[in-house]
Symmetry: C2
């Protein structure tokens, strides 16, 4: 792939990259130098050609007959995702989910460093959650500007989502990881990734209902695409 060829990589491909990365790191820790697409595909239950195309979209070039160098592949996937350089992020909304994310110490390996947390609740301000001080909302915009923070993690109640988003935008934040159920509006050039827990639950519920459902022949089974 030519180096200037920034073609759009499909969301499906992007979503598979972290699973490759995880496997590659396991292989690396086992001292393995080389890996083939067929091997990756066998472990992750994916088509080898698909693995090859996904990897190629990160810019890696392999060696026919040999495969890919594990270290080079990790480097390629990580730099493609921007995960070799840690970006600083603000988290807003220190409820149960926000607290869980603040406690997740492995984000550093995935390019994310949560440097400050914010909450509207005066009770919480000044306290520390998993080593992160909780700051008042009115500091958000100024601090984002001063620290050049690019990423915001949104874990507030749905009704507060748009207001907090607006503060983030004012602070120059360019990417919002949205854990609310609210569809937030942002200006062009700002990226939003919404995580909806219930969409996964819908898949699970429906597949379960199907396996348990009447009218189904005995022994017939349903597999989710995990």
């Amino acid at each position: 792939m030519a180096q200037d060829d920034i073609r759009a990589v499909s969301e499906a491909t992007l979503r598979r990259l972290p699973s490759y990365l995880q496997l590659l790191k396991v292989l690396q820790s086992k001292g393995r130098d080389i890996v083939s697409c067929s091997h990756i595909g066998a472990v992750l239950k994916l088509d080898p050609t698909q693995v090859r195309k996904d990897l190629a979209s990160t810019g890696i070039v392999g060696r026919p007959k040999v495969g890919y160098e594990v270290n080079a592949l990790i480097e390629s996937v990580e730099s493609f995702l921007g995960w070799n350089n840690v970006s600083e992020a603000f988290l807003v909304g220190v409820g149960s989910l926000g607290t869980a994310l603040l406690g997740y110490d492995r984000f550093n390996r995935y390019g994310l460093n949560i440097v400050a947390a914010f909450d509207a609740d005066a009770e919480k301000i000044g306290k520390t959650v998993h080593g992160h001080p909780i700051l008042p909302m009115d500091k958000l915009t100024d601090l984002a500007v001063r620290m050049h923070v690019m990423i915001g993690v949104l874990t507030v109640p749905a009704e507060a989502a748009q207001g907090v988003t607006n503060l983030m935008i004012l602070g120059g934040i360019r990417a919002i990881w949205n854990f609310t159920q609210s569809a937030i509006e942002v200006p062009p050039g700002v990226v939003v990734q919404t995580e909806d827990l219930f969409s996964g639950l819908a898949v699970l519920s429906s597949r379960l209902a199907m396996t348990l459902g009447a009218g189904r022949k005995q022994g017939e089974t349903v597999h989710a695409s995990y």
Copy 2:
């Protein structure tokens, strides 16, 4: 759609159903009786035909020129997903994420009722988290059998995932909501839905890198599919 026609509904459709449901409940609370696909599509930024097909797959029949009855539509989507009857679930692994999920009191509206939590840590056993008593792992299988629990929520560290899965299977659990990064093995007839936080982060990171990236024309913007 004929009532015995259990055709496979695509995962993409299943994932959109919760967002329809949420909007419909907002409309219901506003006292609205009738809604059209074009209206739903306009709010959620989806093609009206796609909305119509998604809704049709739940079995609802609308009225030409009029639209769909809001109440009937909610009933149709909920019963399709099995969310009108609450299923009891066990949660295993009371770490930060498990704790957050235990604190999420709205699962009842989504067909899920977490009736017990389990952990391997003796320190945690006997304590109560968000009103849920934490039980020892060795009670899991027997209790699942006795209570006819069908759903397991897996929030343990990756290395414990397969072992706990096996206990769940022995207990007769038929659906596993897997929040670990481990690809678990289950027998036919058991449904697994794996939630990978990092796949969402990969999408965000890559889209951000693309908006910030060099070689990009000024003013060109990238939108995530939120």
